[in-house]
Amino acid sequence: MRAAVLGASQGMGRAVARRLAQRGDQVFVLGIEPEQLEKSAKDLEVISGQPVGWVECDLLRPETFGPALDRAEEALGGLDTVVITAAIFASQERLEEDTELLRNMLLANFTNTVLLCEEVRRRLLARGGGTLCVFSSVAGDRGRKPVVLYGATKGGLSKYLEGLDHRFRSQGLVTICVKPGFVKTGMTAGLKPPPFAGEPEDVARRVVRAIDRGKPLIYVPPPWRFVMMIIRCLPRFVMRRIKF
């Protein structure tokens, strides 16, 4: 596998990149903080015993997408898999107060992620197919009080990924939508872990397996599939009342 991972310097993205590197896949690191990107690439080099490259790719600057993918293709000698874990998260309260942050979150998590996916789609289809694995969230499964705004971006993203898979799988483009529940990463630091909170390494193991098998949708950790099944069935008057 020759994979570019956007978000590979932190959290679940890094865990996925490590897992791939460990079993001998070639990886390329994309993200925004050069110092962290370099350290993470070095880590993957030690793990895989192969050189690992990195380049900046910013979801808030779509003009970086093309050149970043060019660099990845060049370094890997072709690209067959792209994993996108990058996203912006903030609490509902902060997003309600801070319009600038809200604008960035909406742009990064939906509009620009879709633009990036479209760029990846064109490239992968041109070479006869490949895998696009994107992290959405259980927050997109239902309109809920604590994640009205963030959840909206993830809901839109999930729908886009589903459609993409339906439209292009026959042409060789496999689209995988990952919906994490609560996972202990920097993104959720400071929040109290609910039951079924996951570890990034465990998520990575399941995500890599889903990539290998071409599964279009996975919930991680798995119990969240059932939690969300129930949440999706709850009538509106209940959703208005509960805090979840």
Partner: protein, 426 residues
């Protein structure tokens, strides 16, 4: 509540922090903040490898790297740490700060004997590097220094080549405390890993029955099976009600363990089962009920005679609280750290149920014995020792505090443990 920060960027979050912690596997208050609301850094996301020298086996990594990841990455390639504690859910930083020991203390010493270099942020905010030759005082004070000399950011250790990832294990069932003590020493002459487990809940003749486990890395010829490191773990989902694990239940548990441990056996064992038997039960401490339990680990110096160790057993027998489990190890090397735990002798790790007052009295009695016999207690497992007892036990503390002040004049770096035992201001 502490204000705990978690980030891949450990350098950033240690800037304002008064303490850094890892996976929190220390039993007592070593990794807890000195005051409520104090800012502490959690290292676990800072777990990247920096370099590995295939020729020399020198590994450099960030302090949050877990032993579990290290094992998964390196064991299949024929490398492992020379020293491992009884759980893999610990970080490099935690292993340095506690100067942990394993079942091979009598051969390899402590983890600190294999640390080559440390990069840390001092209480003054400055980031420095140290080793045996560069800033050696800081280096040795940090090994076993319970995080009180600064925030460990990166560590270089010497890894060891292993012929196969499997363990060749021998188990012996033993019915007597004195024989166990002797056999443990004898076995150490042949086996790099030795440990004994004793049942101290049984009455009369059965008191002190147990098992001796010896091991070494299996040779390539012995290791016939491929090794899978993906082991199924079970979580203990809820606290087991206190009554379930009362003395009688634990007695039964120990008795069954004893009866089940085959007479004497020898053969191939999975490294996970050999080194980390408790890790298969995530959150296993919940089994001890809501009140929880405490550990007390002490080293009792014994040269050629086992007399002091036997006396310690006599004392344990008369404690007000039952000792659910006793794990015995043979120590041969004093630690290199300024306040490292190990000394030449036997170490006793005891699991005691927590009961208000009674447990405190039991710990006091154990500590009085340790003082009289020139032993030491293991700070990373301690939550109940009195400051005056520790002072009486360990003349090294004043020197250690002096060194700390040199790098941290304002006394910023503190923990609940250092307030309880080392006279730091809360």
């Amino acid at each position: 509540m502490a204000d705990e920060r978690l980030s891949e960027n450990l350098e950033r979050i240690t800037r304002e922090a008064t303490l850094t912690r890892g996976l929190g596997r220390s039993y007592g208050d070593a990794s807890l903040p000195h005051a409520s609301g104090a800012r502490i850094a959690n290292s676990v996301l800072a777990n990247r490898l920096i370099s590995f020298n295939l020729e020399t086996g020198a590994l450099r990594a960030e302090a949050g790297l877990s032993l579990q990841s290290l094992k998964e990455i390196f064991l299949p390639r024929g490398w492992f740490t020379p020293v491992t504690p009884g759980t893999q859910f610990v970080t490099l930083g935690g292993m340095v700060a506690s100067d942990v020991h394993g079942k091979n203390q009598h051969v390899e010493g402590d983890f600190g004997h294999h640390v080559r270099w440390i990069r840390l942020r001092l209480g003054s905010g400055e980031i420095v590097e140290c080793s045996e030759t560069v800033e050696p005082e800081l280096f040795f004070a940090t090994i076993g220094g319970m995080g009180l000399t600064g925030h460990i950011l990166e560590v270089e250790i010497q890894m060891q080549r292993v012929e196969s990832p499997w363990i060749w294990q021998r188990r012996e069932r033993i019915h007597d405390v004195a024989i166990t003590l002797r056999r443990l020493r004898e076995a150490g002459e042949q086996w790099p890993f030795t440990v004994a487990w004793l049942d101290l809940l049984a009455d009369g003749r059965d008191f002190g029955r147990g098992a001796l486990m010896c091991g070494r890395w299996a040779t390539r010829a012995e290791a016939t099976k491929p090794l899978s490191l993906q082991v199924k773990r079970r979580a203990v989902p809820v606290d087991v009600p206190g009554i379930v694990l009362n003395r009688r239940a634990m007695r039964l548990f120990n008795a069954v363990q004893f009866k089940w441990s085959q007479r004497d056996s020898e053969g191939l064992e999975h490294p996970e089962t050999f080194f980390y038997p408790l890790d298969k039960l995530l959150d296993w401490n919940r089994m001890y009920g809501k009140w929880g339990f405490i550990q007390h680990q002490a080293v009792i110096p014994c040269d050629d005679s086992i007399e002091p160790a036997l006396q310690y057993f006599d004392l344990i027998r008369t404690l007000e609280v039952p000792v659910y489990l006793c794990v015995l190890k043979d120590c041969a090397h004093e630690g290199r750290g300024t306040i490292s735990f190990p000394l030449q002798g036997y170490t006793f790790a005891l699991d005691l149920p927590f009961r208000p007052d009674a447990t405190q009295r039991a710990v006091d009695r154990l500590n009085e014995f340790v003082i009289e016999n020139g032993g030491r207690i293991y700070l990373t497992k301690d939550g109940h020792t009195r400051a005056e007892h520790l002072r009486a036990m360990d003349p090294r503390l004043d020197g250690f505090n002096e060194l700390r002040r040199r790098w941290d004049p304002e006394g910023r770096i503190r923990s609940a443990l250092s307030v309880r035992l080392l006279g730091d201001t809360p």
